[in-house]
Amino acid sequence: MLLQQLVNGVTLGAVYALIALGYTMVYGILELINFAHGEIYMIGAYLGIIFLGIFTQWGLTVDHLLLSLAMVFVLSALYCGAYGFTLEKIAYRPLRHVHRLAPLISAIGMSIFLQNYVMLTQGSADKVFPHILLSGGIVLMGTPISYLQIFILLTSISLMIGLQLFVNRTRLGKAIRATAQDQKMASLLGISIDLVISVTFIIGSVLAASAGVMVAMYYGLVNFSIGYVAGIKAFTAAVLGGIGNILGAMLGGFVLGLVESLGASYLSSEYKDVFAFLILIVVLIFRPTGLLGERLPEKV
């Protein structure tokens, strides 16, 4: 029972962590809460279903299941990357040098817009993800773990390792870190801030899209409103870990997933969301910058 809940919690946490990464990276550079990020995740889930539907029509899923599944992931991720790029260009870039609340309201407007856009084009009823994939599982110490859970965990962890390598080992990753640290200095040293910000949005959206496709597979149902709740949870995870901190977002996501899953099964399932927010408030009271956040000196 406990092990089962731990596995569920970690699976859920991996998804939160992937979405939280997008929030935290954008925040690290722009100090903007990208409220529309949850909608990108939701669009990713829809695109997963749509592309899989197309491949099924073409008969690809019968002979080349894994290949078409990989294609679904890649296509959804690319599309969502394009969505994130466009979103930043239309709604945030013109507002970069205005007071902080203007881009926030613009983000809220975009979130409402994208939600209704999907509702109008795809309908307000739940969409079903065909249950042909990765059924079955293994039994570990008396606990059934589905292949899907293993797949979600492995994929998320590889994406996170990939992100860490990208941010820490590549030139562009270095540019992202430099921009997050000091935008003005970075631009003086010849880093194209516009490019860095676009790349950040694209990476965040790609991660959110992967999370979206995996959730669609895991729960089998998708609705246009899922982005809202997941967005709030993932943002909570990002703050819990220390916003702007990439490792913190991963840690925060897993902590949140575990708290929710354990709280729901041992305390009360109706109040499971309350536990998540209570943990957040308690952590912030004792560590105002989150679990892994650094204490920055106040700028005078």
């Binding site: 409402i112 856009y117 084009t121 109040y271 309350v274 957040l280 105002p288």
Partner: protein, 382 residues
Amino acid sequence: MTRQQTKRVLFAAIWLGVLGWPLMGWPRAGLFTASVFVVGLLWVALTRADLPIRRVFQAPRLQLANTLGKFAMEGKRFPRMILIGAAFAVLVITPLFLNNYDLDVLTLAGIYIVLALGLNIVVGLAGLLDLGYVSFYAVGAYLYALLSTRFGISFWLALPLGGLAAAALGVALGVITLRLRGDYLAIVTLGFIQIVHLVLNNWDSVTRGPNGILGIGRPAIGSFVFSQPIHFYYLILVIDLITIFAVWRLSRSRIGRAWMAIREDETAAESMGMDTMRLKILAFALGATWAGIAGVFFAGKFAFVSPESFTFFESVIVLSMVVLGGLGSIPGVILGALTLVILPELLRGFQDYRMLFFGAALVGMMLFRPQGLLGGIRDESA
């Protein structure tokens, strides 16, 4: 129109069309691309620097409204009185010619004006980003709902009680959270409204969960009971006027100026000897008071409360009103509240597309007037 511009519009239209294609399906995506192209070309043609239409976007009419608003607040005494008197007469007489539906919309706008002015104290004056402001609204509404249905306490007694209870909660929340700066405060207040919403939904024995509380007593004076929409219109009008007066006096007081100092530079304010912690808690409490009062009125007007009215989304709408109107500017915030209540009504003809346009309008208004319709505070990119 240059060839390059045409090319750019074409490229943008195709890009958006390709983005929309999987979700929209083929024929719709094609139509969408074509319409984006046409609208884009029209836009480029109409906004050329030498055309008079460009001036519309610089909003001379808004400038006029701003001047009038300023004049009403700060102008010379005699003409100011005439202007205020005329505005008051319009507000009192017009509703006599309106139907009940319009009156209800205006009453709702009145509630949002109280809420937005209250939030303006917190966000606009003191510069604290509060995303959970509607929790105080919920406290007022549920307090009156419970007091009325269980103990039969009158509306008039509940009105100040609701304000006090909300203020007390504001102090409690402030003491816990105001050590956090900037967006950490935002997320904790966001968490708070989620908790409040969940508790209202699940604490069945007190709040009756998602069903809400029915049969809340209507306000009454002697044997006269407020029952028609027009009664409530006049009641909220009075509450609005009191709110406007109080918030206006407050913003020009010593405390108001101290809040603005904290908003502009907290460290500097602290080093000038201000007790910033106490001032921030005070801003939370005084902002919350108005939400509590608005909540009591809400419960009295609709005689029904349910958790659906007190969500994070509602908080976001009130915040949008404040930012859209112009942070810190009282006429601006009133205009913002009116705009965001009346805009969806105007869009009612579009039915399903209403919220789509509403979202797009929020983005568009921020892009064209990021400082808000009647921008109050100076531009701060820092």
